[in-house]
Symmetry: C2
Subunit: 298 residues, 2 copies
Amino acid sequence: MSSLFGLQENELPKVEKQIKKFIHNYISNEQLKESMLYSVNAGGKRLRPLLVLATVHDFEQELSLSSYQIASALEMVHTYSLIHDDLPAMDDDDLRRGNPTNHMVFGEGLAILAGDALLTGAFELITRTETTSKKKNQLLQLLASAAGPSGMVAGQVEDIQSEQVRLSFAELANLHQKKTGALIRFAVVSGGILTEQSDVVLAQLSEFADHLGLAFQIRDDLLDELATTKQLGKKTQKDNIAGKNTYPALLGIEEAKLALEEQLRQARNALEEITNENFTPRLLQEVIKLFELERGSE
Amino acid sequence: MSSLFGLQENELPKVEKQIKKFIHNYISNEQLKESMLYSVNAGGKRLRPLLVLATVHDFEQELSLSSYQIASALEMVHTYSLIHDDLPAMDDDDLRRGNPTNHMVFGEGLAILAGDALLTGAFELITRTETTSKKKNQLLQLLASAAGPSGMVAGQVEDIQSEQVRLSFAELANLHQKKTGALIRFAVVSGGILTEQSDVVLAQLSEFADHLGLAFQIRDDLLDELATTKQLGKKTQKDNIAGKNTYPALLGIEEAKLALEEQLRQARNALEEITNENFTPRLLQEVIKLFELERGSE
């Protein structure tokens, strides 16, 4: 394929197809299936699967079945995290991307279980991926570590704990590195594992992903600050009202914009430093452009 | 070791040690750690780890590090399921084993996250188990399948759906085969995988575990019906009040007792039919005795 647009148009639907295939093949309870599919189908730009596919593509110029499967598992983990984060006991969100959140439609009990099911199902999907046991174990360990109590779950706990507490820039960045950064890092590094990169290259990919993840969060905060409810389809300035820590609140809007540019610059540099001569980061460079502020909402 | 009592006294503490080691090594957030350890330490008889160890022992007369690790991961998954099941949106229990449930102590948000963390951590622990990648992948797939949307999570959904609906014996048994039976089956079959049994023997172990799992649930229902709040340390007759389906409610107490005996008889038969001449089911036979009604509460 020739462009990120091509990837989004032609390849992401294959990821969605894999998720739906898994849900249809392995789940017999209709209501559970419906609740899981509701959130899977709620859309979003599929950033994490896009990163898996773009990374694999930039190394090998083609995509294997295992790439789609790993991308699918990752999107299932991301979807689980959104369902649980939206619960009344957590962020208490009624809307996501303009639609009622899972628990508003299916009730809290089923929403918790749909999240549990997507998380567990993601691990099952990886065990069924078309690749070697060794590679599957490496991917499973990395995903569990990224999503679990030393990664995303820890970030969500810290996010709850830090409401009404003013964090420093470094503390906020550290929180986001767990809460949203860990899965973004998995997305990029899993692309490196799938294409059998050296540990050195995996570390370079990880460095790139960390800058990208931080940029993602700064941009998200800025959009929340700048946009209106109607444009984003979710409550805005909610973060502010809840006394949450955001980059614009911490740095001011202009400084936050500069911090975003700085992270994108460092992400570009990190890509240039990757020491594999077959690596042509065309699609990943396009991903970086997606993160520029003027490109509209993620 | 010579007896099930020896296993309980000397080997189960090693399983608990593995869980705590994992939590201490991989989790930096203190409150999350505290919430996870609270439920891990809340006790219970550790039936599932006991089954893993007893099965491995009956095939090989000794226990490997991987046996303790798999037993630990399984107990973490079981603990996660209890935390989520106790939530207000699910069974809404304030007490478990005489102590306040996780969300009563730490709040609903942290309880949901502690459950998520235990589930994800269990998968990570298996990826770090001392065995081959192939065996780890087999165990991960089996556990995800047992715990996930075709197993335990589906059972919990059906349990919620069937409140105020009168199920038949077969329907109730089917629900329990998912809700509690799936993890019990994993416990026994994982012992077979760890000791490299043939597919035929794994199927025979699965048959044994299914009878044991059903016996476990019938016995649990009977105890709930017969015991007082003080003896069990949790609300009793609660199932009845909520209009839940139980074996005593469905069959009457005497018939339920007979059904329990019948399942234990079939479990004994299944053990005798296992076609591996190195298999001496001494400890598993002792486990069956634990399930007889007069042996006190599980």
